[in-house]
C-alpha cells in the first residue's frame, strides 16, 4: 500500500449548539488517509460520520463549535485556515459527492451551465491571480538580488534592476506571441470539434442550425490561420473556405449534401493536422525578438526552438539564474537568522501565557509582537509557502480569543445554573414535581485553553528548529530553476483564458467519461430530465471537473437502487484507479463497504469504535457494535430471525459516562457503564475500543450469525472458483 499520507485527522471534536443544550457530535476521532486508498466510515445516522466529512470540507453548519483537534492537509490545518484559503482547496483539491443528487443540483439551471460554471469562474480568477503573483515574485526577487550582490554599490544595483526590467519586458512580448498563438490554436480546435459533429449529423441527415454553424465554422477556420498553426496550407484553406458557401447553396437546391461534406472534411483534415504541430518556445522567442533586433531565422519549429533556447541562455538566462541563486541563498540565510531570533524571542516571551490569570491587554500585546517576529522569520522567496508560519498569527489569535470568551461564558453558565437550581429546589420544597431538569453548567476547561495557546507557540518553535536543522540539505540550483519555471507558468496563466467553448468541450468529454450517453444532447437539459443514476453521474462529473486529490462520498448510493448503485460504485472505483484518488466513503451499507473499502472505520456516538483493513473488519471483527451491524442485515441465505440492535443511539446532549454502546450491548460488562474503553491494538492494522479485549475480560466469541456467514461465503467462493 502507498504510505503517502494525504489527510490526517487528529483528535477532532465537534459539537453543536441547540436550544436543548450542546450536542457532542464528534468526540475525538483520529484517522489517516493514504494516497490512492478508500477509507470507509460506517455507522448509523447521528454517529457523526457526515459531520466529520463536512468538517474536512469546511462546510459545517453555523451552530457548530469545533472544540479541538486538527485536520492536516498538505501541511495546513484545515480548521485554522481562512475562508479565502479554503476557497482554493474546496472543490479544487477536496471534492464531495452528496447523498441526494437532486438536492445537490440546481433545478433551474441547465446541466451544461452547472458543469462549466466553476471552470469559467476559476479560469477568470486564475488570470488575475497569475498577474499578481508574477509581479510580486519578480519584485521580491529584484530586491533580494540587489541586497545580495550589490549591498553598497548603486551602479551594480541599477544594472540588476535593469535586468529584472528586461525580464519583464520580453515577458510581455512572450505573452503577446503566446496569446496570438493561443487564439488561433483554440479556433482550430473548436472548428475541428464542431466540424466533426456537423459532418456526423449531416451523414445522419440532420440539418439543425446548418446555416449558422457553417458560417461560424468558416469564421473559425479563417481565424486559425497563423504563422505557427496553419501556415503552409493557408492558401489551400482559404480557397476551400471560399467554396463552402457556393457548395452549401448548391447542396441545398439538390438536397444532396455529399459535396458539402467533402469540402468540410477537407477543411477539417487541414485543421486537425495543424493541431499536431509542435508549439514554438515563445519565451525565448520573446527575448530574441525584443533584444536581437533581427528577424527570426528561417527554420522549422524544432530547430528554431533549439536555436532560440541557446541564444537566450548565452545572452541572458545563465547569468540571470546564477544571480538569482545568489539572491535565494541570501534570502534563505537572512530568514534562518531571523528564525533563530524568533525562536529565542518566542521562548523568552511565552511566560505571558503561562500565568494563572491571563491579562487580556498583555496577551494581545504579546500576540502582536510574537506574530511580527514570526512573520520576519518567513523566507518570502520560498516557492512552497511555509503555511504553518503564515497561519501562526491567526491561529494564536483564535486560541487567545477562545480563552477569554470561555471566561465570560463560564461565568454566565454558573450564574444560570445557580439560578435554575434555586428555582428547582423551591418548586421541590413546595411539593411540586417540575417537568424540567436543571441542565448542568457547561464549563469549559480554562487550563486546557491555556495549554492550547502555549502549545501553539511551542509548536511553531519546534517547526522553525526543524527548518534550521534541514538547511544544509537544500538544493539551491534546483530552486533557482524552479523559480524561473514558476515565473513562466504564472506568465502563461495570464494569457490562458478559459472560454465558454473550451469549458463546454471539457464538460462534454467529462460527461462521456462518467458514462452519460449522448452528452451533447444531455448538455442542454435540466436536472429533472435525468434519472436518479444519471443525476448522480452528473454530480460525480462536477466533483471531478477540477481534478481533486481527495473525494468524499457521503452516502452516494443510498437513494439509488441496486443496479444503479453498482454502476455508480464501479464508476467511482474506476476513477479512483485512473486518477489515483484518495476516497473517503461514508455509508451504512456494509455490502457496499465490502465492495469499495481498503480500510474501514466503524463509528458510534461520535467515536471510532473499530478501525482496520476490510478483511479485519469483515472476518475478524472484535467490537460488539460491529458484530451487531454485521448480523442485523439479512443476506441471501439468512432464514433465522434477525439480530436487531435493541433501542436507539444515546442522546448526545448527555453522552453516557462509560462505553456509549453499553446500553444496547448484550455483552456489556459492569465496567462498560463506568469507564470508556481505550483503543486496544489487535494487529498492526486493527484496533478496537471495547473492554472485551482487556486481558482480564471473559472470552466471548462473535455471534453465530457472523461465523456462519463467513463459513457460507467461503463455500460460495469455493464454488465460484470451481466453476
Amino acid at each position: 500500500m502507498n504510505t503517502e499520507k494525504k489527510l490526517s485527522v487528529k483528535n477532532l471534536t465537534i459539537s453543536f449548539r441547540t436550544s436543548n443544550g450542546k450536542v457532542q457530535a464528534v468526540r475525538g476521532i483520529d484517522f489517516d488517509l493514504y494516497k490512492g486508498e478508500t477509507l470507509a466510515i460506517v455507522g448509523e445516522s447521528g454517529s457523526g460520520k457526515s459531520v466529520t466529512s463536512k468538517a474536512i470540507l469546511g462546510i459545517l453548519a453555523g451552530n457548530s463549535i469545533v472544540e479541538g483537534g486538527e485536520i492536516i492537509y498538505d501541511g495546513k490545518d484545515l480548521l485554522k485556515i481562512s475562508e479565502d484559503d479554503f476557497h482554493k482547496i474546496r472543490g479544487d483539491k477536496i471534492a464531495m459527492i452528496f447523498q441526494d443528487p437532486m438536492s445537490s443540483l440546481n433545478p433551474i439551471v441547465r446541466i451544461g451551465r452547472q458543469l462549466t460554471e466553476a471552470m469559467i469562474l476559476k479560469g477568470k480568477a486564475r488570470q488575475k491571480e497569475s498577474r499578481k503573483n508574477f509581479n510580486d515574485k519578480l519584485g521580491l526577487l529584484c530586491e533580494n538580488m540587489k541586497k545580495a550582490l550589490a549591498p553598497n554599490d548603486p551602479e551594480k544595483a541599477k544594472e540588476i534592476e535593469l535586468k529584472c526590467k528586461q525580464f519583464d519586458k520580453f515577458e510581455y512580448k512572450h505573452l503577446d506571441l503566446e496569446k496570438e498563438y493561443n487564439l488561433a490554436h483554440e479556433a482550430a480546435s473548436e472548428a475541428v470539434f464542431d466540424l466533426e459533429n456537423l459532418i456526423f449529423e449531416l451523414s445522419k441527415n440532420s440539418k439543425r442550425d446548418l446555416n449558422y454553424r457553417i458560417n461560424n465554422d468558416k469564421k473559425l477556420a479563417l481565424k486559425s490561420i497563423q504563422k505557427y498553426v496553419v501556415n503552409e496550407r493557408a492558401e489551400e484553406l482559404k480557397t476551400l473556405v471560399s467554396t463552402i458557401s457556393s457548395e452549401y447553396s448548391k447542396s441545398k437546391k439538390s438536397d444532396d449534401f455529399t459535396g458539402l461534406m467533402d469540402v468540410l472534411t477537407k477543411v477539417k483534415d487541414i485543421l486537425s493536422e495543424a493541431l499536431t504541430f509542435t508549439q514554438p518556445n515563445f519565451f525565448s522567442m520573446g527575448y530574441y525578438l525584443t533584444y536581437s533586433n533581427q528577424e527570426l531565422p528561417d527554420m522549422n519549429v524544432e530547430e528554431l526552438n533549439a536555436f532560440l533556447r541557446k541564444y537566450l541562455d548565452d545572452n541572458f538566462m545563465l547569468e540571470f539564474i546564477k544571480e538569482e541563486k545568489e539572491a535565494i541563498i541570501y534570502s534563505a540565510n537572512e530568514s534562518y537568522r531571523e528564525k533563530e531570533e524568533a525562536i529565542t524571542f518566542l521562548r523568552n516571551n511565552m511566560d505571558v501565557f503561562k500565568k494563572d490569570n491571563l491579562n487580556k491587554a498583555e496577551c494581545i500585546a504579546a500576540w502582536k509582537s510574537l506574530s511580527k517576529e514570526v512573520r520576519e522569520g518567513i523566507d518570502k522567496l520560498e516557492l512552497v509557502k511555509d503555511s504553518f508560519a503564515y497561519t501562526f498569527s491567526s491561529g494564536l489569535k483564535t486560541e487567545i480569543d477562545a480563552y477569554f470568551t470561555a471566561i465570560v461564558k463560564n461565568e454566565k453558565e454558573t450564574k444560570r445554573f445557580n439560578r435554575d437550581t434555586v428555582k428547582y429546589n423551591k418548586l421541590k420544597e413546595k411539593g411540586k414535581d417540575p417537568d424540567w431538569k436543571v441542565i448542568p453548567a457547561a464549563i469549559s476547561d480554562l487550563e486546557l485553553k491555556k495549554y492550547n495557546i502555549v502549545h501553539q507557540v511551542e509548536r511553531l518553535c519546534e517547526h522553525y528548529e526543524n527548518k534550521i536543522k534541514t538547511r544544509d540539505s537544500r538544493d539551491y540550483d534546483a530552486e533557482a530553476i524552479a523559480m524561473i519555471d514558476y515565473l513562466k507558468e504564472q506568465a502563461s496563466g495570464v494569457v490562458t483564458k478559459v472560454t465558454p467553448t473550451m469549458a463546454k468541450n471539457k464538460a462534454i468529454k467529462l460527461m462521456e467519461e462518467v458514462g452519460i450517453p449522448e452528452p451533447r444532447k444531455r448538455y442542454r437539459q435540466y436536472p429533472f430530465e435525468f434519472s436518479g443514476g444519471m443525476r448522480q453521474r452528473i454530480v460525480i462529473a462536477i466533483a471531478l471537473a477540477a481534478n481533486p486529490d481527495i473525494l468524499i462520498c457521503d452516502e452516494p448510493t443510498t437513494a439509488l437502487d441496486v443496479t444503479i448503485q453498482s454502476q455508480i460504485l464501479e464508476l467511482i472505483n474506476d476513477f479512483k484507479k485512473r486518477r489515483d484518488l484518495s476516497v473517503i466513503f461514508i455509508t451504512h451499507d456494509l455490502g457496499v463497504v465490502a465492495n469499495m473499502a481498503d480500510r474501514v472505520a466503524v463509528m458510534y456516538a461520535g467515536k471510532i469504535v473499530e478501525y482496520g483493513t476490510s478483511d479485519d473488519i469483515f472476518y475478524h471483527a472484535a467490537h460488539p457494535y460491529t458484530w451487531a451491524l454485521l448480523s442485523s442485515m439479512p443476506d441471501l441465505d439468512t432464514n433465522e430471525k434477525l439480530d436487531a440492535i435493541p433501542g436507539t443511539p444515546p442522546n448526545m446532549i448527555y453522552p453516557p459516562v462509560g462505553d456509549a454502546f453499553a446500553q444496547r450491548n448484550k455483552y456489556a460488562m459492569k465496567i462498560d457503564f463506568e469507564r470508556q474503553p481505550p483503543m486496544f491494538k489487535i494487529t498492526d492494522t486493527h484496533y478496537a475500543a471495547t473492554w472485551l479485549l482487556h486481558p482480564d475480560a471473559p472470552k466471548i466469541d462473535p455471534p453465530k450469525a457472523i461465523t456462519d456467514r463467513i463459513e457460507r461465503m467461503r463455500r460460495r467462493r469455493g464454488e465460484n472458483n470451481a466453476e
Binding site: 448509523e44 445516522s45 441496486v562 448503485q565 456494509l590 442485515m633 441471501l636 436487531a644 440492535i645 461465503m713
Partner: protein, 405 residues
C-alpha cells in the same frame, strides 16, 4: 410458508397509464399476479419500473386504465381501456369484411354481429364502471344486513329495561356497518416515515384516524385500541400523546405500521418500509413485521429494491422491469434459477458483506435490445416449471426449459 391456496388478491392485466403532455407513460403495462392468503409477496425492480404504482393502484389511489383487481373474489377495481380497444378493433375488422362482401344479406348479418359485439362490450364497460365506483356498496349492504339479522330478533325478545341499551348498541353497530368499506381491509405502509405522518397530529390522532372515519365514537374504545396497537409495535402508552417529530426514524415507521394494522386489515401493502432506515433499525422493523404476520396471519405485499431483504422476507417474488412483470417465482427458486436476463443482472448487482466475494463479483449488464428479439413472435408470461413464470416468447420458452434441465 402458507399451505392453503386461497387467493386473497388477484390482479389481472393491470395497466396504469399516465398522461404526459400528448404522450402516454405506461407505468404499469399488463401485469397479472395473485397473492395467496398468508404469504408475503415481494415485488422488486429498479426505481421507476412501476412497483409503487402497482401498489397504489391496488388500494385505489389511482383509477386504473385497464384490467381487473379482485379482492376476496370481489372486483374492487376495473379499467375500461381494453374494452374500448376491443370495440375499435372490431369496428375496423368488420368494416373491411363488409366492404369485401357483395351479398347484401350477408352484409346485414355481419353488421348485426358487430352491433351485438359492441353492445356486449358496452355492457362490460358499464359493469366495470359500476364496480369501480360501487364495489364497497354491496359490501356495506351485506354487513348492514348481517347487523340487522343479529340485533332485530334480540330487540324483539328483550324486556323493557334492556331494550334501551340494546337499541343504542344496535344503532351504533348499524352506523359502523354503513360506513365499512372493503378497501380498508387493504392497508399501506409508506416508504418515508417522516413524510407520511402529519406533523400536526398526535400519535393517538394519527393511529385512530381510520377508526374515527369508520364511525367509532366511543373515546374509551378508541384509546384502548390505540394503546393495544402501540404496545403491539413495541412502543409504550405514553407515546400516544406525543407528536411525530419527537420520535426517531424507526419509531416513526412503527407508528406507520400501527396505523395500518388498527384497521384489522387482511392485506398490507408495504411500500419500501425499510429503505429510509438505518441498518440496525431496518432489522427491528423487519422483525416487527414478521411477528405481526405470524400473530394475525397477515398477508403482505412487500415492495422493495433491496434484494437481500426481499429474499429474507418473501415467499414469492415478482420482478418488474419498465412496467412489465418479467419473472415470477418462489423466492428460493428465483434466486437459485433466475431465467430472465434482467433478473440475472439484478441478482449480480447485490453487494454482500464479504470483501473476498465482492472482489470476484462481476455485474451482468442487461440490455433489452441485445437480449431479446421480439420482431417475429411476441412475448407473454409463460410457466416454465410449476409456479415459475417468465415473460418470454416461444423460442425463449424452449431455451429456458433446456436451461433448467
Amino acid at each position: 410458508m402458507p399451505n392453503n391456496d386461497e387467493v386473497l388478491l388477484r390482479v389481472e392485466h393491470l395497466c396504469q397509464y399516465f398522461k404526459m403532455g400528448g404522450a402516454e407513460l405506461k407505468a404499469v403495462d399488463d401485469v397479472s399476479f395473485d397473492i395467496k392468503k398468508g404469504e408475503v409477496f415481494g415485488l422488486v425492480g429498479e426505481s421507476g419500473c412501476g412497483k409503487t404504482t402497482t401498489g397504489r393502484s391496488i388500494i385505489k389511489i389511482y383509477d386504473i386504465t385497464s384490467g381487473d383487481i379482485y379482492f376476496k373474489g370481489i372486483r374492487i377495481g376495473a379499467g375500461i381501456r381494453s374494452y374500448k380497444n376491443n370495440k375499435a378493433n372490431a369496428r375496423k375488422e368488420y368494416k373491411e369484411k363488409i366492404a369485401q362482401e357483395t351479398d347484401p344479406s350477408k352484409k346485414k348479418a355481419l353488421s348485426d354481429e358487430l352491433k351485438a359485439y359492441i353492445k356486449e362490450q358496452n355492457n362490460q364497460i358499464k359493469a366495470a364502471k359500476y364496480d369501480q365506483k360501487n364495489c364497497d356498496k354491496e359490501y356495506q349492504q351485506k354487513s348492514v344486513a348481517e347487523v340487522k339479522e343479529k340485533y332485530l330478533p334480540l330487540i324483539e325478545k328483550a324486556s323493557a329495561d334492556e331494550k334501551n341499551a340494546i337499541n343504542k348498541e344496535y344503532s351504533n353497530e348499524l352506523r359502523k356497518a354503513r360506513k365499512t368499506k372493503l378497501v380498508t381491509q387493504i392497508q399501506m405502509i409508506f416508504q418515508d416515515p417522516i413524510a407520511s405522518l402529519d406533523p400536526r397530529m398526535t400519535v393517538r390522532e394519527t393511529i385512530s384516524e381510520g377508526l374515527v372515519i369508520q364511525g367509532e365514537k366511543n373515546k374509551k374504545v378508541i384509546d384502548e385500541k390505540v394503546y393495544e396497537m402501540l404496545e403491539l409495535v413495541g412502543l409504550v402508552r405514553e407515546h400516544a400523546a406525543r407528536y411525530p417529530h419527537e420520535f426517531s426514524g424507526g419509531q416513526r415507521q412503527r407508528i406507520g405500521v400501527a396505523r395500518s394494522i388498527i384497521m384489522n386489515p387482511d392485506l398490507i401493502i408495504a411500500d419500501e418500509p425499510v429503505s429510509a432506515l438505518d441498518v440496525s433499525i431496518q432489522a427491528q422493523v423487519i422483525n416487527l413485521l414478521n411477528d405481526l404476520r405470524e400473530k394475525f396471519g397477515l398477508t403482505i405485499m412487500f415492495i422493495a429494491h433491496d434484494l437481500s431483504v426481499v429474499k429474507y422476507f418473501s415467499n414469492r417474488i415478482g420482478v418488474m422491469y419498465f412496467g412489465k412483470m418479467v419473472e415470477l417465482a418462489t423466492s428460493d427458486e428465483l434466486f437459485k434459477n433466475p431465467l430472465h436476463p434482467y433478473t440475472k443482472s439484478l441478482l449480480s448487482a447485490i453487494p454482500l458483506p464479504d470483501p473476498e466475494y465482492e472482489k470476484q463479483r462481476k455485474r451482468i449488464v442487461y440490455n433489452p435490445l441485445e437480449s431479446h428479439d421480439y420482431s417475429v413472435s411476441k412475448p407473454r408470461m409463460q410457466e416454465i416449471t410449476p409456479g415459475h413464470f417468465v415473460y418470454c416468447n416461444d423460442e425463449e420458452f424452449e431455451k429456458y426449459k433446456t436451461e433448467l434441465k
